[in-house]
Every structure is written in structure tokens, then in C-alpha cells.
Homo-oligomer: 317 residues x 2
């Protein structure tokens, strides 16, 4: 085992930080690292926090860190920068606020970029979550903005997903139904001292009544993260969901689906890495590639011609 | 050639609509359809319109449609619904506003969902753009929200990309530099009658001066789309960029890169489609898959064991 992995397993924070950087840079050593740490996984509880910009997610995460610490938990945080550079501004302040915990050895916070094609963000997030798990964190908080496809993919690894809204989110509830019901295990109406809090609470509850029950009744909590109100109740609800999951087949189903996806993605990634070299080794395939590049035939047609030619031209080393 | 394709090529709008639905549903017939229409491509000019929520993109698109029609152009529009269901609300109104052109045979507007993993949106967008091209549209406008990775991917097919901002976007310019400079061929400051318009105009121009020139000097225009101000100038600028592109190697480079990506994606897609069946045909591979599913080994390790076993177990039919 390499030096850095040994230090990592001995609790060296710098080693953790360096391994996360390797994940971000999609290092070639990644398969080896993730396979090495695999046997140290499974102790941490993964909590996703998502919701629209301005819902106060970072403040809530900040409070949850403090709550977790008070309960004696070691807490890792992964903040996924918004995929849109447009919304970058406001978040810088939030990141800085999280520095409250910068000197606490029981807390490790890391921001991950959201750029990168082909599901790169969700793969990187999963790997970092696991690094924090293997490092010995009890809670791993994953903060994302919005619930687009990327966010839904990211949240696949969370045991429990908290969707944070505000009284101002009321108008958009109708349109976001589908996406939110898919991921939410807990709803939080933050900034609950503002006008309209009860209205959105009521709307969420009606919406949830119409959805089909699946063993866990999705709670709707009120918080005022800035004033530290409702955080202890949220932590209790998270614990309740954790207990619920451990006794249900749902977690096992979730894990199976996730591992299946991950295996598929890792195989595709391997295929992609070999593709260019393989095509160049098969003259017939190269000829079709050139026809695609020149615009003579469509990419679809090229692929249908090239694919069978690539089966077994050379086994990977 | 199938009945629907014949009707499509004869100018039947219902056939176009049905083919777009096949694209959205990732029909198995897609490779055949896209290969069939391939020889009818290349006449349309693809224009991307992107920017933050609330910048007035839909209104601008609405005005550009009218401008294009006045110039005798047939105009296709693809509006990519925001990946976040959170921002869905405001857009419904915009969609309805576009119905101004609903009865005009020279206009075809279609909204595309943005859900779907693995670059599904950008692939679907490219296919729909091409359907509109082959159908005989002169302009194809592609409207997306934000400039996250998904939007950058989508914009790869646009000949010209317009980034729309407002005076209120000023604060976030610093953070969005990277993403915007990559894609913008033209900047538009919309709602230019509002306070701060000159400030953001100046900031954009300073920012552009610091970037490296590459033949085309990125213009910064002012518009008031709602009042129909500045639209004719925008159309002229688009035409100028089109002329610039046709005489430069840049378009050819862009096309080559795009076709290369598309071929790669089509091959990966084919590989993915065969994966499950192949694994089940190779007992050794199936054994490793089960180890991944049970959590005994990591997905990375499973993939490294399975990949070599799958090379050429059975050629695709």
C-alpha cells in the first residue's frame, strides 16, 4: 500500500485532502485507491441536503455540523459548487461562514467543482463520500443546489436526502413535484419566521398525502437555521430515518441499484479510455471514423459500423 | 424509407413533431432516422441563446423569431427546460408568450425536457436541431438556462452562441468568467434601460479585452427585448458572425470536434446497451458482478476484472 494511503488510514488530514484532489483530477490511481479503502467503508451515515438557491442550505449545514459535534459525531462535508457559474457569487459567503469549524479536528469540509462531462460530478462525489467514510467520519453531509438531473444522480449515494425550501418557494411547488418527491426523505421549510411558512407547510403536506406511502412518512419540519431554531429536531428526524432504513429492505435495494450503476459506469469509462487506440489499430474502423469526421455519414451510422469491428481487436493490458 | 420519414421530407409538420418525440423517447429507430436525414443537413444556421434565469431569454427569442420571419427565414426553436424543477414556474409564462407564432407555418417551437442521465439532453438537442435543419428551417434557435456543464455540452452544436445578461447580473461576472468566455460569441445586455446597464457593459468589455483575441472580436450589445429595442442590430451581428465563421477554419475545427464526440458517445451507448447481456453470458464476469453487488469488492475492482472478459464474447447481431 502506498505511503499516502497508510497516512490516510492513520488519520492524517493532509493525506485525506490529497486523496480528494486525486479524485477531482480523475487520477489513474483512483481504481486502486478506491479498491484499497473499500474494506474500511460502511460506518458513516450519508446525508444529502438540497434545495433552490437562497434556501439557506449552507447555514443549515453549518448548524448541522455543530449539532453533530455536540452529539460527539465526526462530520465530513462535501459542498458541490453549483453547476451554473451564474450563481457562484452568493455561495462564496456561505463557504466562508463554514470556516466556523475550520479549527475543529472532528470536522472536514471540502468544496467540489461541478464541471466535468459524463456524470463526472456524481462519480467524484461518491468517491469523496467514501474517502470521508473510510477516514472515520460518522456523518457525511452532501450539499447541492437544485434538483436537476445532476443533483438527482449525486443524491443516489445519500442514505437520507433533505430538501430545503423557504416560504418564498411556494409558487414553484407545482412544477417541482416530480423531482422532489423522487429524492426527498425529509422536507425542511427554512426561514420559517417569514410570511407564508404555514402556507407552504400545508401545501407540502397535501402534496405528500397524495403521493403513495412507502413505509416512511416524509416529515415536513420548520427551521430557522440562522437563529439555530429547529436544528435539534432535524437531527432527531435524521436519526429516525437512519433507524428506519436499517430495518427496511429499502436501503439494500438502494445499495444494489447504486453498485449496479457504478459497475456499469466504470466499465463504460474503461471502454472509453481504450476507444481511440482500438479504432486506430483497425484500419476498417479508422476508415469509418474518417467518414464521420468528414461529415459523409452520421455518427450513428459510423458507430454501427465500427462497433462490431472493435470486439476483441486487442485485449487490454 | 418509412412513411413518417417520407412525410417529414415532404414538409409535414406532424411528422416532424413525431420524429422529435422519437428522439425524446430515445427510440431504437433513432440511428436509422438520423442516418436517413443526414444527407439533408447543412442548410440551417444554429444559434444558441443562454444566460441566467430572469435575463429575458425567452422574450429575446420571441423577438428574434419575428425578426427572422421579417427577413424571410423559416425559424425553428428548441427550448431546453431548466434542469432544475425549482425554476420551472417563471418559464411557463414565457412558453405561452412564444405562442405568438403558433399559427405561423414558418415557425416551429418545441420544448425539450432536460432530464435523463449520461449527456442525454445534449444528444437529444443535437438530434432535434438536425431534424429541424433537414426539415428546411433557416435558423434554429436553441434556448438554455445557465451555463453549467450541461449547457456547455448543449451549445457545442451552435454555430453562434449568444450569452444574455442583465444589469442585475453585474455581481456575478467575476465568478462566471470562465464558463462564459468559453461559449460566448456575442454578449447581450438585455433590459438595458435599467440602472447599471452601462456598468456591466463596461465590465464585460474590460473582461473581453483581457482575454486572448481569436479572430472574432466578441461584441457586447444592448437590447430591451420587451420593447423590441436592439433586435435588428442583434440579427445583423449574428449574420456577421455567420459570415465570419464561413470564412474561418474555426467552424471546421468545431465540426470535427463535435463529430468526434458524437461518434465516441454513440459507441459508448452501443457498448452500454450490450453490457448486461454480455456479462450474463460469461459466468466469470457474472461472478465478479455479484461480488460488486454484494459489496465484497469495489465497482472499480469489478470493472477491471470484468472488462477483459467481455472483449468479444459475442459479436452484436
Amino acid at each position: 500500500m502506498s505511503d499516502i494511503l497508510q497516512k490516510f488510514l492513520a488519520g492524517d488530514r493532509l493525506a485525506l485532502s490529497r486523496l480528494i484532489t486525486l479524485v477531482e483530477n480523475q487520477s489513474e490511481k483512483l481504481p486502486e485507491i478506491m479498491s484499497e479503502i473499500h474494506k474500511h467503508l460502511g460506518k458513516a451515515y450519508y446525508i444529502g441536503i438540497t434545495g433552490p438557491p437562497g434556501a439557506g442550505k449552507s447555514t443549515l449545514v453549518n448548524r448541522l455540523i455543530a449539532q453533530g459535534r455536540a452529539l460527539g459525531k465526526k462530520v465530513g462535508v462535501i459542498a458541490i459548487d453549483p453547476s451554473s457559474p451564474f450563481s457562484g457569487g452568493a455561495l462564496l459567503g456561505d463557504r466562508i461562514r463554514m470556516q466556523d469549524h475550520a479549527s475543529d479536528e472532528g470536522v472536514f469540509i471540502r468544496s467540489l467543482g461541478s464541471r466535468g462531462a459524463h456524470g463526472g460530478v456524481s462519480r467524484a462525489t461518491r468517491d469523496v463520500v467514501r474517502l470521508m467514510d473510510a477516514f472515520g467520519m460518522d456523518w457525511v453531509l452532501i450539499e447541492t443546489v437544485g434538483v436537476g438531473q445532476t443533483e438527482l444522480d449525486i443524491m443516489e449515494i445519500a442514505h437520507t436526502t433533505v430538501v430545503v425550501l423557504t416560504p418564498e418557494s411556494g409558487d414553484t411547488i407545482q412544477t417541482m413535484k416530480a423531482g422532489l418527491l423522487e429524492v426527498a426523505d425529509v422536507f425542511v421549510v427554512n426561514k420559517a419566521d417569514r410570511e407564508g411558512a404555514d402556507k407552504i407547510l400545508h401545501e407540502l403536506k397535501s402534496m405528500l398525502e397524495m403521493s403513495h406511502p412507502h413505509g416512511w412518512e416524509i416529515p415536513v419540519l420548520k427551521t430557522q437555521a440562522f437563529q439555530n431554531v429547529g436544528i435539534a429536531e432535524l437531527a432527531q428526524t435524521l436519526e429516525a430515518h437512519r433507524v428506519y432504513l436499517s430495518g427496511s429492505a429499502k436501503l439494500q435495494d438502494k445499495l444494489l441499484a447504486l453498485r449496479d450503476t457504478e459497475l456499469e459506469e466504470a466499465l463504460e469509462e474503461t471502454y472509453r479510455r481504450h476507444l481511440k487506440a482500438w479504432i486506430s489499430q483497425v484500419p476498417h474502423a479508422e476508415k469509418y471514423r474518417e467518414k464521420v469526421l468528414s461529415g459523409e455519414i452520421s455518427a450513428y451510422e459510423g458507430a454501427s459500423q465500427i462497433f462490431p469491428l472493435l470486439q476483441g481487436p486487442k485485449r487490454p493490458a
